[in-house]
C-alpha cells in the first residue's frame, strides 16, 4: 500500500491518555474516537489532520494504558500510518491487530520534520520524504508478526484457527 500525506510530528513518550483521554472511552465508535484524537495533547489537535496524513513521533509512542481505543482513534482521524523512533509494547501489538501501520525507524526519525510531505510504502517499510528527497527504511518486523499481517490481522488469524479446530 502506498500512502501519501503530510507529517504531523509529536515528541517522546506520547501516552495513550494523550492520544485519547479516558473521558472519551465510553464508546468504541471509530468516528467519535477519531474526532477526539490527541485531545489529551492539545485541544483541537485533530483539526489539522487531512485523510492519509502520517503521524511522526519520537521514542516510546503509545506508552501507558492498554486501551485499543488509541489506535482506533488514530485510524478514525484518518491517520493510517505512524512512524516513530520506537513504540511502547502494548500499543505496538494493538496497532498490528487494528490494521494501523507502525514503522519503527530509530534515530532516522530526525530526517522527518513536521509538515514534510511523505510517501510511505507500507509493504517495503520505506518512507520517502518528498520535501527533502531523503528515504528512510524501517527495521523488518519479526516473521511471525508478518504472518499475522499477511493473514489480515489477528481477527482473521484466530478465525482460521477456530475453524480448523471445528
Amino acid at each position: 500500500m502506498l500512502v501519501t500525506g503530510n507529517a504531523h510530528k509529536v515528541g517522546a513518550h506520547i501516552d495513550t491518555d494523550a492520544i485519547i483521554p479516558a473521558r472519551f472511552l465510553v464508546t468504541t465508535d471509530a468516528e467519535v474516537l477519531g474526532a477526539n484524537c490527541m485531545e489529551g495533547l492539545e485541544p483541537g489537535w485533530v483539526k489539522r489532520v487531512k485523510k492519509n496524513d502520517i503521524m511522526v513521533a519520537d521514542e516510546n509512542f503509545g506508552c501507558g494504558s492498554s486501551r485499543e481505543h488509541a489506535p482506533i482513534a488514530l485510524l478514525g482521524a484518518g491517520i493510517p500510518v505512524v512512524v516513530a523512533k520506537s513504540f511502547a509494547r502494548i500499543f505496538y501489538r494493538n496497532g498490528f491487530n487494528m490494521g494501523l501501520v507502525l514503522l519503527e525507524v530509530g534515530d532516522d526519525i530526525a530526517k522527518l520534520k513536521d509538515g514534510d510531505r511523505l510517501e510511505v510504502d507500507t509493504g517495503k517499510g520505506e518512507i520517502k520524504n518528498l520535501t527533502t528527497g531523503e528515504t528512510v527504511v524501517c527495521a523488518k518486523v519479526p516473521a511471525f508478526m508478518q504472518e499475522l499481517l499477511d493473514a489480515g490481522g489477528l481477527v482473521p488469524y484466530v478465525k482460521k484457527r477456530l475453524a480448523a479446530k471445528g
Binding site: L25, V26, G64, E68, V155, V158
Partner: protein, 419 residues
Amino acid sequence: MPHTLAEKILQAHTDEKITGAGQIVNCRVSMVLANDITAPLAIKSFKAMGATKVFDKDKVSLVCDHFTPNKDIDSAEQVKVVRDFAHEMGVTHYYEGGNVGVEHALLPELGIVGPGDIVVGADSHTCTYGGLGAFATGMGSTDIAGAMALGETWFKVPPTIRVDFDGQLEPFVGGKDLILHVIGQVGVSGALYRALEFGGPVIDALSIEGRMTMANMAIEAGGKAGLFAADAKTLAYCAAAGRKGDQAIAADAGAVYERELKLSVSGMQPQVACPHLPDNVRGVDEVKGIKVDQAVIGSCTNGRIEDLREAAAILKGRKAHKNVRLIVLPATPKIWRQAMDEGLFSIFMDAGAVVGPPTCGPCLGGHMGILAGGERCIATTNRNFKGRMGSLQSEVYLGSPAVAAASAIAGEIINPAKL
C-alpha cells in the same frame, strides 16, 4: 539452560523449547482479564473472530471497575454489554456492583491468580500479579479476545533486567518508594519490551502487598512484566486466599540477564514522581512545600489494607488541611470491610476525608475526584501523565500512602517523618 523467571514460567506453558530472548512462542494462559473499558472492544473482536464460547469459563475474569458505579449513560451501556456477554458465556468471574473491586487488587485476593501462572489482561497494570510470581502482562482488547477464544497467545520472550536491593529501609519508605526510585533510574522507556526481575534481601523482607505495588508499576518503566520469586510468604498469602497446590518458584542460578542493577536503599527518602511522567522522581524533601488541592489514597497500586493502615497511622488524631480534598478509595469490598472493622474509617472521617466505594475513579480521570485547571493532587496512583486526573492544566504528584496522608494534613507535599 538456566532460565530467568520470565523464561521459566513461559517454558512451563508451551511445548516449544525456549532458547532465549527474542524468540516468539505460543503459550497457554491461566487467566484472561478485561474491564468495563476494554471488554466491550474485546467482545466486538471476539464476535468478529466467529468465536461462540470462551475457552474456559473459569479462566476469564470480567471486572467492571473503572467507571463504576456507572458514572453516566454511556458507561452504563458499556457495562451492560459486558454483563450480557458474561451471562451468555457463563463466565464464573464476572464482577460488578457489590462484589467488584479494582481488578488488580481483586484477582489476587480472590485467589484466582498465583505463582507460575500466565495472566493476560486488557489492562496495562495486569503486571501487578508479578508480585505473586506470575508472568502477567497487559495487552489490547483484540489480543485478549484471541486469548479468550483460544486459551493461548503469542509472546516474544523478553530479555530481563535484574534489580537487587540491599541495605536498610528508613521509616516511611516502602514498595512504592522502591519502584519509583527504579523508574527514576531507568526511565519510562528503560525497560521497554523487557521483563524486570526484583530480588535481594530488601525484597525478601518486603510484604506481598508491597511486592504487588512494585510489580504494578513495572509498566511505568515500559516493562512487559515485573517479576518476583514466589517464596514461603507468597505461598502463605495464596493459601490464605484459598488457593491449593502452589509451589515456590525462582529464577535459575546462572540465568542470563541483559542488565543487572544493584541498589542500596539505606538513607533513601520517600520518593515522589513529579508531573508529567512517572520517571520524574525526586526525594520528597526536594519537592516539599508544593501546595496541593487534593490527595487521593487508593487504586491498584496502593489501595490495599496495608496502604490504608499506613495512611491511617498518620491521619490518626489529625485533620486534613482545609484547602485539601482528601479522598480514600479502598480497592475492594473485602478491604473496605476490613478497614471499617478495624476502625480506619473513623480516623479518615475525623480527618475530613471522603471515603468512596472501590473503583478506579479519579486514577484515570474517570470520576469521583476530577481536577480543575491549575489544581494539584498528591496521589498514591501510578500515572501522572498530563491530564490523567482531569484538566490538561492540572498536575499529579505520585507518592506512597504515607506521603499522601502527610501532605493532605500539611496542605503541601511533606516528608511524613517531618510532619
